[in-house]
Amino acid sequence: MTKSIQDINEKIRAGKAVVLTAEEVSAMGRDHSPAEVTRKVDVVTTATFGPMCSSGMFINTGHANPPIRMERATLNGVPVFSGIAAVDLYIGATENHPEDPAYGGAHIIEELIAGKDVILEAHAKGTDCYPLKDIKTSINRENINEMIMFNPRNAYQNYPVAVNTSNRIKYTYMGSLLPRLGNANFSTSGELSPLLNDPDMRTIGMGTRIFLGGTTGYISWHGTQFKSDAELNEFGVPISNAATLAVIGDAYRMSPEFIRAAYYEKYGVSMFVGIGIPIPVLDEDMASRLMIRNEQITTRILDYGDPDHPELGRCNYQELMSGEISLKNKKIKTASLSSIYQARKIAAILKKQVAEGSFLLTEALEAFPKEKSIKSLDIR
């Protein structure tokens, strides 16, 4: 049996589509065949809520009178990128305040979404058409023109587990790693994760409508560092970081519940981003992908105690989610840096929206690259 996205959208419009979350369909997969799942289920909702550094937001502040062509700008003291037209700015999530490393772009983004006032300060050389040289004023979501979130790399398809074999605590973007294998941190929502449920990207591509930060957003491109040649496990899932997404959405309609600023000790600022993707059950192949369970998703365990991050072993997400993995004859406590609780909330919201007919599926406008490896930077 095969269904087209149009067939499924007809059912969604009629309020007759059967929608399950990825966790529900994984449980269903224990006693249902892919053919049965294809017959019974139309859409599966996937989600993730994790720290995603490669994120940010464009804003347009509107022109002052007299106007200024902003050349160096800060928001609450955090530098923002002003190397685009006069009053367009890009707030990079990881940019930090020069005197407060725990405060940065992500906090500004969260505050603007929440409706708070933020101090804008900008300087320029002054031109014939933009004579103003300095400006200091306060902005908020009501007195600026646009807030467009654009994140160049989100929703990593799988990510390695971080441990530390050294003798001192390591503060990393994978959290605090205790010495001598004291803990193991991972950051993927496993069987609920969007790109692990459609590993070949048959239904996810450019233009796909998604849940982003509490509202509807879109996949605008493949994410940076997109990798199509990662090693696969026996279930066809990459065992390491592979595909990524670049996403875009209207931050005016986002919520601080699904966009949260973060700070990792001695690393810096990052931002939790909530992403959900509904995946159509087109045929048995898609059904079998969507039925994947945590024990069938493998990842690598890397040692952040060594600057080269050597691989120490491999494990699956059932082990990681159980709270303990075994490595080198030692039981190591595990924890997720992405929030499964929040990811479940997003998958449930999306399920409701699709079932009610308020969220229609999209056909990707263009597929992601089939062959793309990533390069490292040579120092020459």
């Binding site: 994790g50 959290g175 605090s176 000790e265 924890a335 840096l337 929030s339 499964i340 609780y341």
Partner: protein, 140 residues
Amino acid sequence: MASSKRRMVLRFPADSVNEPITYILIKDYDVMINILNADISHGREGNLLIEISGEKGSVERSMNYLKSKHVEISPVVKTILFNQSDCIHCGACASVCFPGALSMDLDSRELRFSPDKCIACELCIKACPLRLFELNFGVN
């Protein structure tokens, strides 16, 4: 009979480190000892973060015994405050919480906090990406 539970840091003078104080406390004073953190070496001053519980009289008598051995007793007054309503339920704090005061519920995937297990080691303060923990120097 009234029971009592106290959490304290014991500081041992260098010459009493060789005496089996915890053994004597358990055997002769009938109190339960939970050692939460220890830093003791021979010939050097030592520190023990300890919880003593038992019948009220036994706990009082064990305190007197410790004082007679010139052990300095400081009640643990540091506590950790957790702004739980802002928690997003990632596990970054639970990952470093070795006494198990912060833990992830494996079914609901919600973060749980049991203050009675907290020894105020402060690792969660740095581990939390949302900075939801702070140290409180109140009276125990």
